[in-house]
């Protein structure tokens, strides 16, 4: 190896390493919105606010919110539970976790004088997961239901027992989707047994294991709901929320959606303010902007999930497709719906059942 070649390799190595800082410099040149005076830090699911409304807020208040994203409620809890969670102002917890976050003093008690609750749907307020709305304001909500192909299933589904029976049928077995959420998998089995998922004991929960594990062999997937899979027939029976079902029905109008009896779930993704928030006033300002009826209507049309204002259905624009599905369709008895509340004493039992069901499905 001649000296000349050696010096080439060295030099080229150095040149390429020079390219890297250049790249860094270039990427810094991408116009980052200059942070205006005051800031607002939000921790949320990705793509959970429409770009237009965020831009409108930035224009009005001069503040562009920093939105960091999480992919799991547990991650939200872990982050807030550690000093690393400092710096977040608004967080978007799901109803199930609000009590745990509040018990650990991770959420600020809301000053009701600073928020306009008048436009909100009263039936969504003061629910079991946050009595008096001390810590949360509903952002949007969803229902646990079933979307299915009536031809493949050969009939209608009205109760959770129907759902499990349908799953065992020959054209349906192997094409079923169960959720990955432990509560939503075990819940239906508990409801069939007449139990309440928030007061069930560890034995009650474990009692569903055999039934669910027996059902597991019919399950194809626990992954995130994919409307395309229902549209093309590789899944014919699925647990899903109403907005996801709407997406599937949009692609395949044959499909049907139902919220099975005797009970089911309503979950509410909510706005909360972190206990360590530094920009509390800005947070209230943001909340009041986003809770105004016009913005809520636009957000609903963007997300496909219903926001929490009263009389929303009437306010949606006329060309919203399958608008009634956004609200769960006709005939939903909201009095039979409850929210799951994560309970440290039982959550690991729920997860244990979920794990064994998933393992049984993979066997």
């Amino acid at each position: 190896m001649s000296k000349a070649f050696g010096s080439l390799s060295r030099r080229s190595l150095l040149t390429m390493m020079g390219a890297a800082p250049a790249a860094v410099a270039i990427s810094q040149l991408l116009p980052a919105k200059a942070l205006a005076a005051g800031a607002l830090n939000i921790y949320s699911w990705p793509d959970y606010f429409s770009n237009d409304d965020l831009a409108a807020y930035a224009k009005k208040s001069g503040v562009t919110p920093n939105i960091a994203t999480y992919n799991d409620n547990g991650a939200l809890f872990s982050k807030l539970n550690s000093p690393a969670g400092a710096g977040f102002d608004i967080v978007i917890p799901s109803s199930g976790w609000i009590k745990q976050l509040a018990d650990k003093n991770l959420l600020l008690e809301l000053d009701h004088a600073k928020i306009d609750f008048s436009a909100l749907d009263q039936s969504l307020l003061n629910r079991d997961y946050d009595p008096g709305n001390k810590y949360s304001i509903p952002k949007d909500w969803g229902l646990l239901g079933v979307v299915y192909d009536p031809d493949a299933v050969g009939g209608e589904i009205k109760t959770w027992q129907d759902f499990f029976d349908a799953g065992a049928k020959p054209n349906v077995s192997g094409k079923v989707r169960l959720t990955k959420d432990a509560g939503e998998t075990v819940g239906p089995a508990l409801w069939i047994a007449g139990k309440d998922w928030n007061t069930a004991s560890a034995d009650d929960i474990r009692g569903t294991k055999d039934f669910l594990k027996g059902f597991a062999r019919h399950v194809k997937t626990f992954s995130g709901f994919d409307p395309a899979a229902m549209a093309n027939g590789s899944i014919v029976l699925a647990q899903a929320n109403q907005a996801a079902a709407r997406g599937a029905i949009q692609q395949n109008p044959k499909l049907k959606w139902v919220v099975p009896g005797p009970h089911s779930e309503i979950w509410v993704d909510s706005y909360s303010i972190a206990a360590q928030a530094e920009n509390v006033d800005q947070a209230y300002d943001f909340l009041n902007f986003f809770l105004s009826p016009d913005i809520q209507v636009k957000e609903t049309e963007y997300l496909g999930y219903p926001a929490a204002i009263a009389g929303l259905q009437g306010k949606l624009s006329a060309d919203t497709k399958n608008a009634d599905l956004i609200f769960g369709g006709p005939g939903v008895d909201f009095s039979t719906l409850t929210s799951f509340i994560v309970n440290p004493d039982t959550i690991d039992v729920y997860q244990e059942v979920q794990n064994e069901v998933q393992a049984a499905a993979g066997a």
Binding site: S12, A75, S82, G247
Partner: protein, 276 residues
């Protein structure tokens, strides 16, 4: 005996060539798909698996999504810095794994390298989170970069080690006997031999740092969010084609960058060649 070997060699090479083409097609299929589907209209604002129509809107949409745009910037920056650090430290480690005079040190370093690979990312992520909580160290870009370097370092170290294992020790001894100092030996004999491994390590480090999901998700802050974390979260409610558009843009940007680096490389090559 040697007469048919020519044909056999050509046949063998043909088969290998065919395999290579299949592999490249296999590797490119999803990237072509993701580029094509960033033009897909989708349904109700979400991505669909059947193509529903052409539109350019998603690129503008991705740009206007401040959160997504910032995540891309952070990812690019963090992975560049991580790659630089990992290449230096990883090459150093990889070389020491083979050449350090003390076998006990080599064994310890080996163990260290393996541990880097073995520990599940969730554990690394939570360890770092707990560590920074206890030590009250502020999370930010430095902690993110530091957190994703270990895996990149391990990858680089092992690739450089593989390269160094083929380096004949006698070359270095010969250089020493001819009076070259250790540094000169490294610079003029070892490094050129290891150059492919080091460059490969650099590329791999960049790629793995950019794609890091689990550790990054523990180290994000309000202003430091990465693209993979954003993407994985979007799977909960269904991704829109905008994230595909963002990924396509990143791809094009990175190709251009690497292409530029490659051009610089060839320019240097041409300048270095002795003129007749």
């Amino acid at each position: 005996m040697s007469a048919p070997s020519g044909a056999a060699r050509r046949g063998g090479n043909l088969l290998l060539g065919l395999w290579y083409v299949l592999v490249v097609a296999f590797l490119f299929a999803p990237i072509v798909t993701s580029i094509v589907y960033s033009f897909n209209v989708g349904s109700l604002g979400k991505q669909t698996s059947t193509f529903t129509g052409w539109t350019l809107n998603w690129f503008a949409d991705a740009w206007n999504n401040v959160s997504l745009r910032r995540a891309v910037q952070v990812s690019l920056t963090a992975s560049f810095w991580s790659a630089i650090i990992a290449v230096m430290i990883g090459s150093s480690l990889g070389f020491a794994l083979v050449r350090h005079p003390n076998p006990l040190v080599r064994r310890l370093l080996s163990g260290l390298t393996y541990i880097l690979l073995i520990v599940p990312e969730t554990v690394v992520g939570t360890s770092l989170l707990l560590f920074y909580s206890v030590t009250r160290f502020r999370l930010g870009m430095p902690t993110l970069v530091a957190g994703i370097t270990p895996l990149a370092i391990a990858v680089t170290a092992l690739i450089v080690r593989a390269g160094a294992l083929t380096l004949d020790r006698r070359l270095e001894d010969a250089a020493a006997d001819l009076g070259a100092g250790r540094w000169n030996t490294i610079w003029f004999v070892v490094l050129p031999h290891l150059a492919p491994a080091v460059l490969a390590g650099a590329l791999m480090s960049y790629v793995f740092s950019f794609d890091n999901l689990v550790i990054s998700s523990f180290l994000t802050t309000p202003s430091i969010n990465t693209l993979p974390v954003y993407l994985y979260g979007s799977l909960q409610y269904g991704p829109s084609p905008a994230v595909y558009a963002a990924a396509t843009s990143v791809f094009v940007f990175t190709i251009v960058l690497v292409g530029l680096a490659g051009l610089l490389y060839r320019l240097v090559l041409r300048r270095g060649r002795p003129r007749k």
